[in-house]
Each structure stands twice: as structure tokens, then as C-alpha cells.
Amino acid sequence: MSALAILGGQVVAGGTVAPGGVLVRDGLIAGVGTFAVPDDAETIDAGGKLIAPGIIDVGVFAIDPAAFSAGGITRAVLMPDQSQPLDAVALIQHAVTAGKPDVWVHPLAAATQGLKGTDLAEIGLMARAGACGTATGRGWIADSGVMQRLLSYAGALGLVTISHAEDAGLAGSAVATNGEAATRMGLPAAPAEAEALAVARDLLLVEVTGAPLHFRQLTTARALDLVRDAKRRGLPVTCGITPAHLLLSDVAMGDFRTFTRLSPPLRSEDDRQACLRALADGTIDILCSGHDPRGPEAKRLPFVDAEPGMAGAETLLSLGLGLVRDGTIAMPRLFDLLSAAPAKRFGLPGGAIAVGAEADLILIDPEAPWRISSEKMVAQAGNTPFDGLPVQGRINHLIKGGVRL
């Protein structure tokens, strides 16, 4: 295989952004910064734009290669909540190959059979078949005994468990967070503390078992305080968030826009501000898209009947770059949240630009302006809560395993 030299860019590597290029050979990164360009190398002029590691999106609900490519996502960690829950070896094997060659799918094993929250699934066998972790799915495991056994069992296998943090009893059939917006709209709502209550229990079980736990999304001040404190005490816990909970509060539900029906639901402005602080101070480890494309049959319904979820893959990077522009986080930190931390947490290749690493790279024009439009999205469905929002940042090139896509 010949070499590929990307020259004249701004390379996001080693915690800095520095002028230079990246040399790729045999699917791996062979040089970073300045290097002698081999005679046989194909070259790409980055034109002074960003050269960054491909995004590893933790916790998507659909395999959507077009949306992933548009969003600079080279690896997707797939939730087990499929039409048939990923609770068997064959389903995992199928999922592993489903996105290649454009995107590599790393499935999560359903923690319990049928995601019912009662009996453990064969997570050991599924891990051998390629599952990179295990997840409780869209729901919380209400039975503390089951959760404890899951954590200790998965932990012993070296697997990270991903939990959805919403106390089922408090959340009930709520579609919104307690507050003025839900009250005015007459929507069933639950207290924001439903999240912290779930997190508190799960953290105690992490103490009991010593097993690693990742909260796919945390969205409230109280829950993030608990995780901040747990990290201080050295517990093996991490958490993620999507741009929606960083950029929107519950007032965005106005006019019953079902694209803003999310799980967990949008929170108060105070909680949103707390999420931004937690992103800045390092409490939040991973920024993910929560990609969950839903067509009109799931969304063109009354708010309470609509399915939760948003198509987030192709807007993740641009919204993340907006956080850099706002001064919430620095550029190297953005790619830590999008790429390095997910790779490290789930033991995946790629995630960083370093000699010897898998050459999953994206070339980004961080200033290129565009407007998010539900109708123009390449995803399987256009259910974005950011419809109409002007953003900046486009993918110029996407290189997966050293191959230009």
C-alpha cells in the first residue's frame, strides 16, 4: 500500500494544535508534524485547515453511514436497542460488519436478555464476538440486585457498563422535566432529580463492585456533582453528554416540537449551565451525538405519543466547534471528548493522532458556514432539534484506516 501525506494543516495532537501534517502508511500513522515526504506518497494539501482524529461516537441507535461520514465519525459504538435487542452472539457478529468499510461499528452487548432488566445476557460470549462493552439500553435497570450482578460480572470480564440514568419510578411516563415549560404545555413531567437518584444508586454499586461504569448522558447539576465527587474519590466512572443538553433547555419544546422530545428530556436553564461547567472542568468525559434517526411515523405525533431521540451524527462536530468558539472548551479538549476519551474508555483503535495509531483522520474547515436543515440532512431521518440553526465547520476529507472515503 502506498503512503498518503497530508500537508500544510493544523494538526490536533498531543494536547495541542500545531502547524504541520500527517504521514500515513499501511493504514497507520507514520509521521506527525514535519516529516520527509516519500516519493511514492499521494499528497493532500490541507490548506491550513484542521487535521483531527476521526470521531468515535459512543451510543448511537442506528447504523447510518451517510450521516456518520458527513459528521466525521469513523467509528460508532452501537447501542443494543435495535429492532431485535443485541443480546445474542450472532446479532453482535452481524452488527460488527454492518458499517464497513465506511464506518466501523462497535456494538454494545445488551446487559440483560431482551433488555428487560431482569436476566443477564451472554455478555462474555458477546464480548468475544466483538462487543466493546455492555449497556442497559434506553432504560435504567430498576432492580438493584440485577444491576450489582451486572456490574461485577461485566467488570470481571474487563467490560465497561453503560447505564441510562433515570429512576424509573420517578420518571414514570414523563416526557419532560418538571418546570414552567412543562406546566404551561400540560406535559407529564418528572423531577430532574430522577437522574441524580439513579446516578447515586449506580455509584454506590460501583463502590461495592469496583467495576467501571459509564453514564451515556448526564444532564443535571445534581448528577454531575455526584460524578465529580466520585471521580475525586477515584471511582472508575465516566459520563457523556450530547450537544442538545448543552445548547438547549426545556423552553425549546415550545409549540410541541417533537424533535425536542429526547430521553432524558431537556432540562432547565440552570441545569444546562451546569452541564457547560461540567464540560469545561472535565467532569464530562465524552461528547456524543445520541444519533437516533426517527421518521415522521415516530415524530409527527402529539408530543406525548412521539418517540424520543434526535438525528445528531452530522451536527455533532459543528456544534462541538461552536463550544470551542464560545470559549467553553479549547480545541484539543474537543477532540479529547469526541475521539481520544471514547477510544481509551472502550479500548478502541484510533482516537488520537500519534505515530503507530490507526489512521482514522478528518480534515475539517472549522470556519465553513452552513445552516442545519431538517430537510437537507443525509441521515436516515432529519429529526434535529437544531433545525434552522446557523453553524460553522465542515468535513473536507475523511480518511478511514488510511483510505480516503
Partner: protein, 327 residues
């Protein structure tokens, strides 16, 4: 010499109520609410006469699409439409068959294709009426959507209060009972608050919406304290299924703590008006002796005002289609 200014009613009619639909009280200004109340007055007189008919809406078609069971609201809208000369058609959609999927939108498109001139909709889901309104070409009247709004009920309540008390502004009005699940309460909080009343909500803490104070009301969980000095006591219906949901322990306890009895009513102002949107659970949220006290209860009058108020809404919303001058 400048020409005399045109009469405001003729030229600027549409500015008095510049809304295509009536989906809720939210978004209406005090002058718009008062305009609708004023419009209803003429229909009260007509309805009390022998010949209860006016032909100004003759030839128009009104569809009452009720996705949730209703007797009195449906009847009220039907009578209102007929008294104005409209052809009124009722569609009872069993909630089980038209609940999920595209069917709601499809139903809206189907109704629209029949070229109605006004559609009156009730649906069990908050926001569902707006969803349909976005898909049709004619004015839509919300006859109740989930827990969200029931604007004509709030308007008829305001009309009833204004006729009995001479005003709404400055009155202390206690809305009592299951506020959490009540669209009547939400619309009334907005309407009465907009008109300048001092609105209280009173109920068990499990049946008060979170942060309801942000809607400009004072919340009470002690019924007696909430009634103190009130000029109007508006009781809400307690849905029987709330017992199963664990919101209150029993009907007996609810009546003991939150039922309106003559003794309780004595805490309100001496001339306090008692209201209820119906249907009443006698012996639960309201004692029969209170409900039937002609000096205090405005409950039958609310029903009467309902027809007049809905006639006014139907008339105003169809003016643009009928080419009424200024609209």
C-alpha cells in the same frame, strides 16, 4: 379637509382579533379576550329569545372532531353552530382506533379534504390540536387538548364572572382541586390572570403542577387558607382514575380535605360565586347543597354562557372566510 376616519369596526375589524385559530388563551392579549366576551353578549340575548336563530353563518360547514369522549362540550359547540345557521357534523373518533401513527395527521388531511369552514377539535394529548391545525386550511377551535388548554371554557368562565361580578380585574379567584391534570385550570389561569384577577390555585400537593407559581398564581395546599376571602371559587372535576394513580388516597379523604361544603364556603367572601366546569362529582369535590344553592352557584349559567361564547368564537373566526368588511 381630511376625510372622516372610517369606523374602526369596519376597517380594522381583523386587528381586534388577528388570529386564524383559537388554540389557547396563551398568546391572547387582554383586549382580544375582552373583544370575544363583548361579542358573546349579543348571543346571550338571542339564546334567551323565542327564535334562537341567526343565519349569518348559513352555508358554512362545521366539523366537530372529538377524539375524546365528551357530551356537554360537543353539544354546546353543536348548538352554537346550528344557531348560527351552519351545517354541523360530528365525528366521534374512538380513541383506540385513532391514537397512534400517522392516523391523526391522516384524519386531519381527510377532514380538510371535505372542505369544512371551521373544525372544532378535542383530543386527549396536549398539543394535538395544534398539530392538526397546522395541516388544515380552515380555522380550528381547540375544544380541549390533554392537560394543555380549553380556551372556550376559560372564556365562558370569564364571561360568567364578568356578568355576575361586573368585572374580572381585581377579583380574588380560587381554582381548586386537580389542577395538575386540568386544561380548564391552565386556560383559566391564563385568561383570568390576563384580565387582572388575583388567581390562586388550591389542591393537594400531588395534584398541583410543578412551578405553577411561574404562571402568575399563588399556590395553596390548605383548602381553608386558599378559600379565605375569595370572590370566586372555581371547583375542578376530580377524575376517578386519579385514585388508582396514587395521587390521592381515597374519595372519602379527598372530600374531607378538599371538598367544597357550606362550612368551607363560609371562609370565602360573603357573596362568593361558586363555579364548576362539569360534570360534577357530587359528594366528592363539591357538596350538593353548595352546587344547588341558586344564590351562590353559577354552574347552570356557565353552561348557558358556553353556547353564547362558542357562537361568538365561531362567528369571529369565520369572518375572514365570509368576507365580512374589515376582516
Amino acid at each position: 379637509m381630511p376625510a372622516a376616519p372610517p369606523s374602526s369596526e369596519e376597517t380594522f375589524g381583523a386587528l381586534l382579533f388577528p388570529h386564524r385559530h383559537l388554540l389557547g388563551i396563551a398568546g391572547l392579549g387582554p383586549h382580544e379576550i375582552l373583544f370575544l366576551l363583548d361579542e358573546a353578549e349579543q348571543w346571550i340575548a338571542l339564546n334567551r329569545g323565542a327564535a334562537k336563530h341567526d343565519n349569518r353563518l348559513a352555508g358554512l360547514t362545521q366539523i366537530n372532531a372529538f377524539f375524546e369522549n365528551s357530551t356537554r362540550t360537543l353539544l354546546s359547540f353543536e348548538i352554537a353552530g346550528k344557531r348560527l345557521g351552519m351545517d354541523v357534523v360530528n365525528m366521534h373518533a374512538a380513541t383506540s382506533s385513532v391514537k397512534k401513527g400517522e392516523t391523526l395527521i391522516d384524519t386531519a388531511i381527510t377532514l380538510n379534504a371535505m372542505r369544512p369552514d371551521v373544525i372544532v377539535i378535542r383530543h386527549e394529548a396536549s398539543g394535538a390540536v395544534q398539530l392538526i391545525a397546522d395541516k388544515v386550511d380552515c380555522p380550528v377551535l381547540n375544544a380541549g387538548d390533554g392537560r394543555h388548554e380549553h380556551p372556550t371554557q376559560a372564556l365562558l368562565d370569564a364571561l360568567t364572572i364578568r356578568r355576575r361580578k361586573g368585572r374580572v380585574a381585581g377579583l380574588t379567584i380560587a381554582i381548586c382541586g386537580d389542577v395538575l391534570h386540568s386544561r380548564v385550570a391552565r386556560s383559566n389561569i391564563l385568561a383570568l390572570g390576563t384580565l387582572g384577577a388575583d388567581v390562586r390555585v388550591v389542591g393537594p400537593p400531588t395534584l398541583l403542577p410543578p412551578q405553577v407559581e411561574r404562571m402568575g398564581v399563588t399556590a395553596f395546599t390548605d383548602f381553608d387558607a386558599g378559600l379565605e376571602g375569595a370572590d370566586v371559587v372555581m371547583m375542578l372535576r376530580l377524575q376517578r382514575e386519579r385514585m388508582a394513580g396514587g395521587f390521592v388516597p381515597s374519595e372519602r379523604e379527598y372530600h374531607a380535605l378538599y371538598g367544597l361544603t357550606p362550612e368551607r364556603l363560609a371562609r370565602a367572601a360573603p357573596d362568593a360565586l361558586v363555579m364548576h366546569p362539569g360534570p360534577m362529582n357530587r359528594g366528592i369535590e363539591i357538596a350538593s347543597s353548595v352546587a344547588d344553592d341558586l344564590n351562590r352557584s353559577a354552574i347552570p349559567e356557565q353552561v348557558e354562557m358556553g353556547v353564547a361564547m362558542r357562537m361568538a368564537c365561531l362567528d369571529v373566526l369565520t369572518r375572514a372566510r365570509r368576507g365580512v368588511a374589515g376582516w
